[in-house]
């Protein structure tokens, strides 16, 4: 790994953000709208639901964590799509940068993009709704790691599709997370799902992450085993994502799609 090259590719995306105020505004706007929406829903449920009666902010915390996952994945996809849209794809793939360095650069830069959008929204939630994700304490770090790994994995799978099918795969990029959200048990316990779907859902890290988040906020106890299980599952999917990306890259070279990507 050559960190100078990883930094160079990261800079390409940071310059892009810094050069455009509307782009920064766009990054901040959507998470903030989400916080407002789920903040009011959360407030309503807190006042009217027995399940959430003593646990103000469970829904809002879930919304923030889900948005973190969503932003991480979308950031990864967006940075890859930027190369296609700007017709810079060929220049990037003939530069002496290894594929693993491209993956590393996109992974590391996605966190900055994600945080630019999410930090202001998280800060707004504290005075406005009296909810802070920091109440999750130290486990929050591990939950975020697990979410981030899974978000990047989804990004890798979508970009693999872009390499395989070209820009027409773009719509899938936007839809990918919504497809998994119902199985993620973000806002409800896993018992709500039919039994067969529960088996599938347990194979995803999201269930373990959001179940544990609710457990921490409701019982004020931490089950680290469950958190690490979610990280291991995320890591497993991440490795699969990297393998799929490499397969798609070599497939794209065979089909010749790298020279006319974006056209």
């Amino acid at each position: 790994m050559n960190f100078n090259k990883i930094i160079a590719l990261g800079l390409r995306h940071l310059y892009l953000i810094m050069n455009s105020f509307p782009r920064i505004l766009d990054l901040i706007y959507w998470p903030t709208v989400q916080i407002f929406l789920w903040g009011f829903i959360s407030k309503f449920f807190t006042l009217n639901s027995e399940y959430y009666s003593n646990t103000i902010g469970i829904i809002l915390t879930a919304a923030i964590l889900y948005d973190f996952l969503f932003r991480a994945s979308i950031s990864f996809n967006m940075m890859f799509l930027e190369e296609i849209w700007s017709r810079n794809f060929t220049n990037l793939f003939i530069a002496p940068i290894k594929i693993r360095e491209i993956i590393a650069a996109l992974t590391l830069t996605a966190i900055i993009r994600t945080l630019i959008g999410l930090v202001p929204a998280v800060l707004i939630a504290i005075p406005l709704f009296g909810v802070s994700v920091l109440k999750l304490g130290i486990p929050l770090i591990f939950l975020l790691i697990s979410l981030y790994l899974f978000g990047i994995t989804l990004g890798l799978l979508v970009t693999s599709g872009l390499l395989r099918y070209g820009p027409s795969f773009e719509n899938i990029a936007w839809a990918s997370l919504f497809f998994l959200a119902p199985l993620g048990c973000i806002y409800y316990p896993i018992e709500i799902l039919p039994e067969t779907l529960q088996i599938i859902a347990k194979g995803l890290p999201l269930v373990h992450i959001f179940e544990e988040m609710r457990n921490i906020l409701m019982t004020e106890t931490v089950n680290y085993l469950k958190i690490f299980k979610s990280i291991l599952i995320s890591l497993f999917y991440f490795i699969i994502g990297v393998i799929v990306f490499y397969i798609s890259y070599f497939g794209a070279k065979k089909r010749g799609t790298l020279i006319n990507m974006g056209e």
Partner: protein
């Protein structure tokens, strides 16, 4: 021989894009790759750049199969420019050159960018976003990017396409001047026959994925009994014969 192309073929599904082509490029020579649209020029360039996996055949650089080099080892010796491939539009010229300089691991990058910017006369729009430039300015920036690493092998795909005669001449003169001062081997794909005659030591004519003829411009013109390369090109392109 510096670059050797041996029995190189590419089949896309059932379409034979490049059909067992063989050619050599001597060090510090400029070779023109000519042929009608769809004859396999871009696929050939793609295979040399490692963007397309050949279906058959091999590429050798300094008698070593290109596959034996690591990706970054070989690509750091290459570069490429084409008006059909652009630099990020929302980044300034300076930012783009900085990023590509870093990706190519250039030492003393500031000096290198300054030198090349002066040579190509792009300093006056250094701070402008690349997408806001005219096609002539974009072309010069693209050429600057392609020379940032002082490549040993430069692949140019129609470097003066869609440029006005003045800018086109500037680019051609710059390539000539750069070549006279630096050790560089160039593979130039072009439809501009005057440009090819001016810049290339020899040319390769392709048609339907095959090499149909090759040699110096003068030799080809003489061989086909025409008065210039354009007429020779037209004769070969329109001919139904298999050469």
């Amino acid at each position: 021989m510096f670059v050797q192309i041996k029995n190189l073929s590419k089949i896309y599904k059932k379409f034979l894009a490049v059909n067992k082509i063989n050619f050599n490029i001597e060090r510090n020579k400029t070779i023109g790759l000519l042929g009608p649209n769809g004859c396999g020029k871009t696929t050939t360039i793609g295979m040399i750049l490692g963007l397309v996996t050949p279906s058959e055949g091999e590429i050798f650089i300094e008698n070593k199969n290109i596959e034996k080099y690591s990706r970054d080892q070989i690509l750091s010796r290459f570069n490429f420019a084409s008006p059909y491939v652009e630099l990020p539009k929302k980044l300034t010229v300076k930012q783009n050159l900085e990023i590509y300089g870093r990706l190519y691991g250039i030492k003393n990058l500031k000096d290198r960018i300054n030198d090349i910017a002066s040579d190509l006369d792009i300093k006056n729009f250094f701070e402008r976003k690349t997408g806001e430039l005219s096609s002539g300015q974009k072309n010069r920036v693209s050429l600057a990017k392609s020379l940032i690493n002082k490549p040993e092998i430069l692949l140019l795909d129609e470097p003066t396409a869609s440029l006005d005669p003045d800018i086109g001449d500037f680019i051609r003169s710059y390539i000539q001047e750069y070549k006279s001062k630096n050790k560089i081997t160039i593979l130039l794909a072009s439809h501009n026959m005057n440009e090819v005659e001016r810049l290339c030591d020899s040319v390769i004519m392709m048609k339907k994925g095959k090499i149909i003829d090759s040699g110096t411009c003068e030799a080809l013109i003489k061989k086909h009994g025409r008065s210039n390369l354009e007429e020779t090109f037209l004769k070969l392109a329109r001919s139904e014969d298999e050469f």
